[in-house]
Symmetry: none
Subunit: 403 residues, 2 copies
């Protein structure tokens, strides 16, 4: 649903909405048993909740499209992920909790190995460890560029974050082409402006690259670098304003806290476990309207291709479901940002099980929470962007459309 | 899905996709038995395939919209049929294998009967036979118009194709109103430009009509003509480029070969039976990525209102299913361009049974291939335009969207 329509329909109420995201929730059958992770897991709390809820499956972006974490979450927040995009440089910054400012230009960097002709022989510099990477970032941070402040932050292994921050009234552009040629045997591409107004920024990046090249000379295997995904902080419509919800996010991982912050949610400090997250929710329950809580372990196990670990992660989540229900939200959603089938060891395009619990739902015959059970749900297979409008309706926070 | 997004996501792979279209696949229950053609047919190969596949139903154009063959196929090729249109004149040309050039303007013609006041008394000239029609076309072909070459080709019964081809650097417009008033008791409408730049072309058509009128005078019952669907060759995005697939079409009927050619598929010469078509596939299997194969008999029987003949046609198709499976495509889709229920003796708007077979599907409980069985499928009821994006995903030919 268009955010303008949501803005038009949203009305205040004193109801509370809880969106519990299980990252990488959906799966595929194990080739030997024919049962998916959710089917294999003992999730009796989820199953009971499903029996009392309206169930369905969400399509994160579009049929056949495998989303990254950014689009997957934006959709669950009600933002069309094809319309509202977050650049890779910005996501990289969110992922390490870098405090990106509106005027900053961020890019994802890779250390790489160059031969004596300047050609890339390893795009990941042998995946040097994060400590080595941090030492190199320290070296690059000393480069001076006129009119901008430079940040070079280690991310993980060969990855780093480059941020240019204009000083005083300066303005930078993110309309720059990647310097990563995406293959080996050729040199990194020269920094290049994609629009006339980006020429000055391109020149700054050229200076940075040239100076970095000198400073990294001899630092085998990481004697070169590539940059991609130049991006500025996206100006997304403000979630609390659009939905008229005092909204908070509770997440352990920086990327998800960052995404919530991008749409204007308040990010609550929390501990390092899901129990900590739930406790944080509880502490702030009375004063707010909308709560996004993020559970990461299912995705991590799926990404590792570890079927049993994903089953265990889902069972651990299941154990927390009673605590979520104890909060007695008027609307409780259990959703996933995308599927992460263990058999694919990565994200996938498959629709994601979903349930919405509220006293106003039209219940269905679904009495288990799984990919196949949710197919029989009363919500059908629907775009993930519609989850929050459905929640708003069940929370009686939407006015009637038309007379 | 927007073709620009497909273009952005598509990556090369060595997987193969087979789209088997059963023209007019969907049906309606026989009033006496309550069973549709697919339910009445013995389709054990399709049923077994369905049990191993993800099933669903496609909506060809939009809820309630009955598509012609053009929109029905364009949707299955991934093109939004409401955005990408093929004029009737062009479809008529494709149907008789006319080699339409980019600068041509084509129109569908009908011979009709006029009274001595010039009013239409029979819009189809008593459905004169195709031979009579061919003789009249021969007469009209002799008309000379300045700066254009004229083609007048018989189609079937009272129908013909008119093509104006500009000579040298000339350019024609297809912004012309139909001359067919769609009713009897009034004269044909005068050719009329719908845009200023079409005035010159309208004048040429006026001359053609006036000269035709003289030459047909006395040729009862076909002493007049009407023209409609003026159209130029549509410039559609190139399928092989958008999807990064080396794509071929195998079809007996010219219309379907023509549609495939319009989107840039290579059309393979083949014999006159479905067995010939399958054999053609087999011969070219190794060298290509995407294969569209067309089965016509189900639609023909449905159009004739012959329930039993449609049942037989579906059973004959079923016999060929093992040969399709022997090719071992990574993704096999069985789809229809629209429904052609025998009880309607024509195309209809009803969603069309669909299955997608691949090792990456989420299987469902569907173990028969029919309108009602597919309702329980894991793909749900979805736009036909999404079939090919789904195939691309299952063939692992789509990159991730966003980070």
């Amino acid at each position: 649903m268009d955010l303008d329509l949501i803005r038009q329909l949203a009305v205040p109420n004193d109801t509370k909405i809880l969106l519990a995201v299980v990252d990488g929730l959906g799966g595929l059958p194990h080739p030997e048993t024919g049962r998916s992770e959710l089917q294999a897991a003992n999730t009796r709390h989820l199953d009971r909740l499903a029996a009392e809820s309206a169930c369905g499956l969400t399509i994160p972006v579009a049929h056949g499209v495998t989303p990254g974490s950014g689009p997957g979450h934006l959709a669950l927040f009600g933002y069309d992920p094809l319309r509202y995009t977050v650049g890779r440089g910005v996501l990289e910054g969110l992922g390490i909790d870098f405090d990106l400012q509106p005027q900053d230009v961020a890019a994802r960097g890779n250390f790489c190995t160059l031969d004596d002709q300047g050609r890339i022989t390893d795009r990941r510099a042998g995946r040097i460890d994060t400590e080595q990477s941090a030492a190199l970032c320290q070296v690059l941070r000393e480069i001076e560029l006129p009119g901008v402040r430079l940040f070079v932050e280690p991310v993980r292994e060969h990855r780093f974050l480059l941020v240019l921050r204009p000083q005083e009234a300066g303005e930078l552009s993110d309309q720059l082409a990647d310097t990563d040629p995406q293959r080996e045997g050729v040199p990194p591409l020269a920094p290049r402006a994609l629009a006339p107004e980006a020429e000055a920024t391109a020149e700054l990046v050229r200076r940075f690259v040239a100076s970095a090249r000198e400073r990294l000379d001899g630092c085998q295997p990481a004697n070169g670098l590539t940059l991609r995904g130049f991006a500025r902080h996206p100006q997304l419509p403000c979630f609390p304003e659009v939905f008229r919800l005092r909204a908070v996010a509770v997440a352990v991982y920086p990327m998800y806290r960052g995404l919530a912050k991008l749409v204007g949610m308040t990010v609550l400090p929390t501990g390092s476990t899901y129990d900590d997250e739930v406790e944080t929710l509880r502490q702030h329950w009375d004063e707010l309207d909308f709560f996004f809580i993020h559970y990461k372990a299912a995705d991590s196990a799926g990404e590792d291709g570890d079927f049993e670990a994903k089953v265990a992660a889902l069972e651990a989540f299941d154990q927390a479901v009673p605590k979520l229900r104890e909060l007695a939200p008027d609307v409780l959603m259990i959703a996933g940002d995308h599927s992460t089938p263990s058999v694919l060891a990565g994200h996938s395009w498959h629709p994601v099980p979903f349930l919405l619990h509220s006293k106003l739902v039209r219940r269905d015959e679904v009495d288990a929470f799984s990919e196949s059970a949710c197919l029989r749900g009363s919500l059908g297979i629907f775009p993930a962007t519609e989850a929050l409008p459905l929640a708003m309706a069940h929370a009686q926070r939407f006015s009637k459309y038309g007379a």
